[in-house]
Amino acid sequence: MENDKLVIGGKEFNSRFILGSGKYSMKLIEAAVKDAGAEIITLAVRRTNTKDEENILDYIPKNVTLLPNTSGARDAKEAVRIARLARELGCGDFVKIEIMRDSKYLLPDNYETIKATEILAKEGFVVLPYMYPDLNVARELVNVGAAAVMPLASPIGSNKGLATKEFIQILIDEIDLPIIVDAGIGAPSQACEAMEMGAAAIMANTALATAGNLPLMASAFKSAIEAGRNAYLAGLGRVLTRGASASDPLTGFLH
């Protein structure tokens, strides 16, 4: 499966694990890169610091692709401003749109997300919008120039797994862009399941950050994602389902 690359915005990646941005530490980044094999790391632009000390950018190895996100944005206008700022800070052209108008559940605002995606895609950004898995919204994101679609599995930070499984499956089936499952993946088994379904990649943070042994959990995620991907590529085997054959043959009328 050496040729099985994840391609986003024309750029190829070998790893299908993306580190999210919620909880940051030097140890987490190290484990994500070393043990989980992450080649993309998200960072919250609002956490970057233009002063010399504690700049999160300093923690990130040079060979990984930065995925700045717009967390903190409450509407499209704010997200666009944050994205432009990220570019000015030297974070590259990748941007993950995160727009939350709800501070309790932190659910993404799909409507504002479409608007921000359209503006930023036109400005040449590689836009990865975080969204609630809605087929019509996903289609609109494709139309306005998104480079991938990032549906949530369950509420962010909840570690509850694939609560939106059926709807993510619909996006995988219908959308011709990488579907990256983002938010809510709490265990390697859940990551594996999403990959078996045909997700292009998994983004996680809390699941690693809150684990007992960080490097070990990072490598568990790596194995789970690879196992799920291989199962998807191999084609899942037969599942016996109900629906026994009719007593009278249906095709009895044919001569």
Partner: protein
């Protein structure tokens, strides 16, 4: 084995006969079938490229029983699975395919079967398509109904209880122009809840106009997706231009139509490849226009006036049933129409498996509904038929036959909103 399509008429003038023979025997005197003619819309679309790439790569001999079993075991049918289901390897699995197709049909359509009837309003044609009864060199009675006659026909049909009508013409933009068809559709709107058309392909603006006249469904049969074969069957006229026909459904949707219907005429070329291409035409267009309604038909070649020998060759009823089951499993959401080209027995069987729409009270001739429906002879002339039908059941008979099968006949589930 091939059909012998070429029939001469003793009533053709010497010049016409000479031209006909020249078209038949000398490919160099035919126009380029892949080149749009002046005035034809050229739209930007990659649907055709996608369909043709899949069809050209399709080698149905390489599929095995294991591929078919795998396809049947899955919840969702991929293009690769569909290819396996259309292959000869799937023939021994017909009963299992039927069971799965029935399940999919009932998931999406319950136990409903929709009823409609076609109304041919003119049979003039400028094309020379060798297998068609309306072709310009075939000696038949030609007729174009006046608006009064059209209204009369529609009244007779509407009185039978029918609520959906499909208006058809031969392909003569000169004799039956878009305006004429549009006027007929305006009348149809008065008598029917749903108006569809099956006419020659037109430009986006024309589809827009026809939509304003009340049309919401456009049927265009590609006949065959094998362009080389197409060239040898459609020797003259606008229909010869294959890509313009291919894009017709997309232009119709661009013109605001709610739904579009597709088909190959099975028996003209390699039916497995044509079935694959027909379904993929739907598949790729549906991905581009996810709000559009789509349906597939499955006509097989039939005898025509002056050529009783035309037949669907290797597409037997078993093969047709396999295609329809594969269509249903691959595209569970599409309507599947089975016309009166097929027998009553076949149609009774297939509505229990895969078909969701059947015609009833059918005439493929012009202006003969009153006589056919009521037995009342008319002084008016009627026009000859496009092909022979196999199932002549009236609406009432069709309705009761469907109900007797435990299915629910439906006249309409549609509302026109412009």
């Amino acid at each position: 084995m091939e059909n012998n399509f070429l029939i001469d008429s003793d009533e053709l003038t010497e010049t016409a006969l000479k031209r006909k023979h020249q078209l038949e025997s000398d490919p160099s005197c035919r126009i380029d079938h892949m080149k749009y003619l002046p005035g034809m819309d050229v739209i930007e679309s990659d649907v055709c490229k996608n369909v043709m790439a899949e069809m050209e790569a399709y080698d149905y001999t390489k599929y095995t029983a294991a591929d078919v079993r795998r396809a049947l075991a899955k919840d969702k049918c991929t293009i690769e699975d569909f290819k396996a289901l259309l292959s000869p390897a799937a023939e021994p699995f017909l009963e299992q395919m039927a069971a799965k197709a029935k399940l999919e049909t009932s998931k999406h359509f319950g136990n409903t079967v929709y009823l409609f009837t076609p109304l041919y309003i003119a049979n003039y044609c400028e094309n020379y398509c060798v297998y068609c009864g309306f072709n310009c060199y075939n000696k038949i009675n030609r007729l174009k109904l006046s608006m009064e006659q059209i209204e009369h026909e529609m009244k007779v049909i509407a009185d039978s209880g029918m609520e959906e009508i499909l208006i058809l013409t031969g392909e003569s933009p000169a004799k039956s122009d878009v305006k004429y068809i549009g006027e007929a559709c305006k009348i149809a709107r008065k008598y029917f809840r749903m108006v569809g058309i099956e006419i020659y392909p037109v430009n986006v603006e024309d589809y827009k106009y026809l939509h304003e006249c009340g049309v919401d469904y456009v049927t265009v049969f590609q006949e065959t997706y094998d362009t080389k074969k197409y060239e040898t069957l459609h020797l003259a006229g606008n229909k010869r231009v294959w890509p313009y026909r291919f894009d017709a459904q997309e232009r119709a949707l661009m013109g605001g139509m709610r739904g579009v219907a597709f088909s190959a005429l099975l028996g003209l070329s390699d039916f497995r490849k044509d079935a694959l291409a027909s379904a993929l035409h739907v598949y790729f267009l549906q991905r581009k226009y996810p709000y559009a309604e789509m349906s597939l038909s499955c006509p097989r070649l039939r005898p025509i006036i002056n050529n009783e020998t035309i037949n669907p060759l290797d597409v037997g009823e078993r093969q047709l049933c396999q295609i329809l089951c594969a269509y249903r499993i691959f595209l569970p959401f599409v309507g599947i129409t089975v016309s009166s080209r097929e027998t009553a027995e076949f149609r009774n069987g297939i509505v229990k498996i895969a078909a969701t729409k059947v015609s009833a009270g059918v005439s493929t001739g012009i202006g003969d509904h009153e006589e056919k429906y009521t037995g009342k002879e008319s002084d008016d002339k009627s026009g000859d038929e496009q092909f022979e039908i196999s199932d002549g059941r009236s609406l009432i008979k069709m309705y009761s036959d469907i109900a007797d099968e435990g299915l629910q006949p439906v006249f309409n589930d549609y509302i026109y909103v412009s």
